[in-house]
Symmetry: none
Subunit: 198 residues, 4 copies
DNA sequence: AATGAATGAGCATTCATTCAT
DNA sequence: GATGAATGAATGCTCATTCAT
């Protein structure tokens, strides 16, 4: 499995610039910022990506992929549906342990900025949000089938509550530069999820 | 109390540009946008504000003030603490009725964008978030004193949950361009608040 | 008849940059060249013209207008149709006398460069060429009506010959940096025109 | 006479890129265009030519050589001096028959673009123009000696008229995208040349 | 108090050229 | 001899800000 030089550079650009995009926002990040972050020249960056947009999109996919993969792995290590749902609050509560999560939620970072000017990025965030919601809903339905979750649980409602709590708490963490609210919100979410147990 | 011509122009600039900042974001809004929105010249805008930053800050204060005042008025019209807390979910559930709320939550709009590049704006959002939290906490404490809210209620926890749910749901509304999630989240919040009743 | 400051600047830009466009070609002229030629800043140039294209187009119109006006004036000073046609070779033969003609024929300068990339400029050159041809044809027809030009003269043929000779000779003048061929060609054209006399 | 691999690649580059230079102009042609046209890599092109300029120069020589050779062959197939001179208008009148002429006259293509920025290219066009003129002049002198052309013919004048007419008419063909004027001009040239007959 | 012409640093992007492989 | 990743100067253009009027 040979990796070409170009593939390595592409990956390097994405990995090195991801934190910049997360910190400065997609619009606030200039090509010069990307040069500083990567140590590469303008020409090299443009040799590997068609334009700034393509880099932003790749970085979003990279960030979202990282989080998704992490959750998947942890979910697969669980024994029942309640534990599966608990993976989210438990991870985010201690997210400082996972370096690639520290930049915050990629969706949140993208969501509020991406406007008409960044239609593609907004679409990406939208789709990601949809996938996340569906995953939770399916998790709950499966739990009901397996008699691990109360039969009368409103799967959609729970998914909306979970996502809202996580994103809202993340926003506060970002603005306040501390995790107090994030921890409180995640603890509440844990109680709420545990209450779904039959 | 005489209002000078200058004060009037300042107010006009703030009021006319507030929706622009809310829609395009603080960074995405150019001086030209402000000229278009106000019908005023570059020189006039710079005659009334030192720079774009000062306008952005004033607009944030204006937006936040509007929402705060609206909540205050509705809160004063209530009869007990539970109803007071319910003002938040009830308002946001139907926020399309209030034109000045339609651009979303000013804090959320500011929070995710405001960074090192917009330190002052971030500080403003931080402070606003703190005030909001304190207001809810005080509301709950007062409710407990008045025997309208259960004695063992964790005021801080409830305030964090409320703010997280509202902001997280708003974010989804913004990304998805629909209110489905916002309504579900606000309904949940209503149930949760009603449960605090003694 | 008040001229605004902006109108003056626009004229200044056109007049000062016209020779640059003529010398370097429309594509070979950079905004920096325009700054050097005018002594104005980038922002000022873009404050007066939407983009480089608009400047190039304005310069073409300016150049073509100058030549056209000069010819018109000289034509109006003549007494008969033969003399009118002679204005062209006589002017170009001594074109070094007219500073604004020295940059050469604006149409020729534009014509060979203007490609798919400069569609608008090509269209301009095309239209100018058409107007010129029509003017000559009409001159000849008028001469025939007035019995000043032989009845059997092929107006179209003469116009094509005149324009071809002038443009072809101009091209040689440009490449060779001397007027030898231009003078020979214009003298031939004079003989040819005088032969049209009844 | 062995041809090295390198010589073959050089020829391939010249032949494949010649039409590109003719269409887009020397300045408007980028190295990427040359890669697309040849199917070769950047490194390969730069391995065979020192820089873009050297390619442009080689292409000019190639184009001019093609036209020159074509004329020579047709001239050698004629029986007298008048027919020899007629080769030019007759060829250009039907130039669409000769694929390598269809991009227009290489001299014209080069002449108007080549400037201070393309000093060498301009020099090349100048020299080519001189060779062409001399060739015609010699043709006429030879015709006079052989009593095929009127003794009092001004060889220089005729050569200037021929070249001017051809180049001027070609320019119109290029701008107008049709051959109407070219045909008219070439027919006139034919009449003019036939008139030189003793 | 208001205008709008002018500034210049900054932006995203292109392009001729080099060089390790 | 050929590749293509990397360079960095240059390009057209935007934008917050200033200042003479």
């Amino acid at each position: 499995m040979k990796t070409t030089k170009s593939e390595n550079t592409k990956r390097l650009i994405i990995e090195k610039t991801a934190p910049v995009f997360n910190t400065k926002g997609y619009a606030g990040t200039s090509i010069n910022d990307l040069m500083d972050a990567t140590g590469l020249s303008k020409g090299c960056i443009y040799g590997n990506f068609q334009n700034k947009d393509e880099i932003a999109l790749s970085v979003f996919d990279h960030n979202f992929g990282k989080v998704t993969q992490h959750m998947k792995e942890r979910i697969l290590a669980t024994e029942n549906s309640i534990e599966r749902l608990l993976v989210y609050p438990q991870t985010y509560k201690n997210y400082f342990r996972y370096p690639y999560l520290q930049a915050g939620c990629p969706i949140l970072n993208t969501a509020t900025e991406a406007d008409d000017t960044h239609a593609k990025l907004k679409e990406r965030a939208q789709k990601a949000l949809g996938l996340w919601k569906t995953a939770i809903v399916n998790q709950i339905k499966r739990g009901i089938e397996r008699k691990e979750i109360k039969e009368d649980t409103d799967a959609t409602e729970i998914s909306v509550i979970m996502i809202s709590m996580i994103e809202g708490a993340f926003m506060q963490a970002k603005v306040n530069n501390h995790m107090t609210e994030l921890k409180i919100a995640m603890s509440f979410l844990e109680k709420l999820i545990k209450n779904l147990k039959v």
